[in-house]
């Protein structure tokens, strides 16, 4: 345990030193406060918009940003140390591969978690102070938990990439493609399937397919709790599926555990 904490502590401090925590927190805070107060500017009014609209817009922006940030933060975790020679050195220490992996995960995951909590928590707190409605805390609570899980999921995916890549630049390229696939291509493909399939895709089949993308699970968690009147498109169909928010969060958690387990297996078989 001491080993894991030592590695986690180092990674967390790296995140502080590189201003990662500060930048991510700021991005999230500006995004959420901005959307909360000026989300309705397009319709001609300035002021607090409805909670559903706020969460819906926040979710659709966060679903692009969070995976990108997590991948950027972690893609070079292993391949970077491998290029520098410190990975080999660390493995000659009384430190198992899993301890190193989990240490890094806790450290960098800590950065993501704290940034999400502080950044989005800020606007939740502002809203709560103004309205004093506990629904705000509950809705934002789900949002923050799911955003954290989404971030952790892509941190674990970044580790898989980092452990498989032989060079830092290749890892960066693969990370970008991965982001592009989960954030954009997957939904476009789903939409094409929905429109193109002759027999028509059943609602449950569509929802099941969406479970294959952590970004979509994240969207579902947050939209499932809202009035569907604020949500359009393919998602609206899926929202009516009978999965509860807790079930969706569990699936998102699986999207954290599975890539981490795969990363562990890759690391175990990695040649040094």
């Amino acid at each position: 345990m001491r080993e894991i904490l030592t590695v986690a502590n180092k990674e967390f401090h790296d995140g502080l030193r590189n201003r990662w925590l500060l930048s991510i927190t700021l991005i999230f805070a500006v995004l959420s406060v901005g959307l909360t107060y000026f989300g309705a500017a397009a319709s001609g009014t300035v002021g607090v918009t409805s909670l559903s609209t706020t969460i819906a817009s926040l979710a659709s922006l966060a679903v692009f940003l969070i995976p990108l940030i997590a991948l950027l933060l972690s893609y070079d975790s292993f391949v970077g140390e491998q290029e520098g020679g410190t990975l080999l050195l660390l493995l000659t220490y009384p430190l198992s591969k899993n301890q190193l992996l989990f240490g890094k995960f806790f450290g960098q995951g800590g950065i993501i978690t704290l940034a999400t909590l502080l950044g989005f928590g800020a606007s939740a707190l502002l809203l709560f102070i103004q309205h004093g409605d506990f629904v705000i805390i509950e809705t934002f609570g789900y949002f923050i938990v799911s955003a954290t899980l989404l971030g952790l999921s892509f941190t674990a995916i970044a580790y898989m990439i980092s452990l498989l890549a032989s060079e830092k630049s290749k890892a960066a390229g693969v990370a970008l493609i991965t982001w592009f696939f989960f954030a954009l291509v997957f939904d476009l493909a789903l939409l094409a399937l929905l429109v193109g399939a002759d027999s028509g895709l059943s609602q449950s089949a569509l929802t099941q397919l969406m479970m294959l993308n952590p970004a979509d699970v994240f969207r579902l968690v947050n939209l499932a709790g809202l009035d569907s009147s604020d949500v359009n498109g393919a998602l609206a169909v899926a929202i009516n599926a009978n999965l509860t928010q807790a079930q969706l969060l569990a699936i998102l958690l699986a999207w954290v555990v599975a890539p981490l387990a795969i990363a562990s297996v890759i690391f175990k078989n990695k040649k040094l």
């Binding site: 001491r2 080993e3 030592t6 590695v7 180092k10 790296d14 030193r17 590189n18 290029e83 520098g84 020679g85 410190t86 080999l88 050195l89 660390l90 493995l91 000659t92 220490y93 009384p94 430190l95 198992s96 040094l272």
Partner: protein, 308 residues
């Protein structure tokens, strides 16, 4: 002292079809300093990785401190091993002290221990600076400090003196001598370097993953039967014409004498009053090393000829 600290028995390692090490036998006693010599790709680093337990042998046995180093149960003994890799870039954005504290903590040591080691290798003045501002020599010293963490019983050093100035090199060898008296075994991996001879107990020369020679430098020198250089000052014609000198002398007035004739020639030369000075140079490690490599090369061509 009875059981060797490190023992390799017929250890072999292949990377895909390429044999990196074949049938290596080595016993390293406690407090012994072994020089491991070979050119790039000879298998030095692979051998170190085997001893460190980072990779496992495909055949044969590797035992370190009575345990298999690649086994899970042997992890705690890794705190008693120090390793300096050939190429290592420490975390550039951290300070020297932060880097060393991190590694020290992983071995269960404190920040204070890290500070002491930085003082020992002579970069305590720069411990608050980021590693990216360090010179090559300072980085190498930081690497050495890292290998010295936790008073290791076994040190594996890959090219430890690269980038060190002559003073720092001397200091480094002093540290090695000191560790040796404390009972630490050291494997010094290097291209042949001047000055390494008096600090090692035995030398191992490897090439293409095979042991070419293993023994004390005196043994290797004797086995190689390399001639001694005798450089007298003030040779006169009378001396030069004498058959015992004439047989060995070259145009520069230096004599290249086989080991067994050395004393005979020396006695004769020293008996002559006209000599003002005389220098005797035994074959150095570099020549011994070249001899064994050339020998191996020769064998290889013989074999291919025989095969064809």
């Amino acid at each position: 002292m009875n059981t060797p600290l490190v023992s390799l028995e017929n250890a072999s390692k292949n990377y895909k079809a390429l044999p990196a090490l074949s049938s290596i036998n080595l016993q390293l006693a406690q407090g012994e300093v072994l020089g491991l010599f070979g050119h790039n790709g000879a298998g030095k680093t692979t051998m170190m990785k085997l001893i460190l337990g980072v990779i496992s042998a495909d055949a044969g046995n590797v035992t370190v401190m009575g345990m298999k180093p690649d086994d899970k149960s042997a992890w705690h003994m890794r705190a008693k091993m120090g390793y300096l890799p050939e190429n290592v870039m420490f975390y550039e954005q951290l300070t020297g002290l932060e880097v060393l504290s991190y590694f020290a903590r992983l071995k269960g040591q404190t920040k204070l221990h890290a500070k002491k080691l930085l003082e020992q290798v002579g970069i305590a003045h720069a411990m608050g600076r980021q590693v990216k501002t360090y010179s090559k020599g300072m980085r190498q010293r930081l690497g050495l400090a890292q290998a010295f963490i936790g008073e290791p019983k076994l040190l594996l050093l890959d090219e430890p003196t690269v980038g060190l100035d002559p003073n720092a090199t001397a200091e480094f060898y002093n540290s090695v001598d000191q560790l040796k008296t404390q009972g630490t075994s050291v494997v010094l991996c290097s291209h042949v370097l001047p000055g390494v001879e008096q600090h090692i107990d035995r030398a191992m020369i490897i090439s293409g993953g095979k042991t070419l020679a293993l023994g004390t430098i005196a043994e290797l020198r004797a086995a190689a039967n390399l001639p001694t250089q005798i450089k007298p000052q003030g040779l006169n014609v009378e001396l030069l014409e004498h058959p015992i000198v004439k047989a060995y002398v070259n145009s520069a007035g230096h004599l290249t004498v086989p080991e067994q004739d050395k004393l005979k020639v020396l006695r004769y030369l020293l008996a002559d009053e006209s000599l003002s000075d005389i220098a005797v140079e035994s074959a150095n490690l570099e020549q011994v090393y070249q001899y064994y490599l050339a020998q191996a090369e020769h064998m290889k061509t013989e074999n291919t000829k025989a095969g064809a």
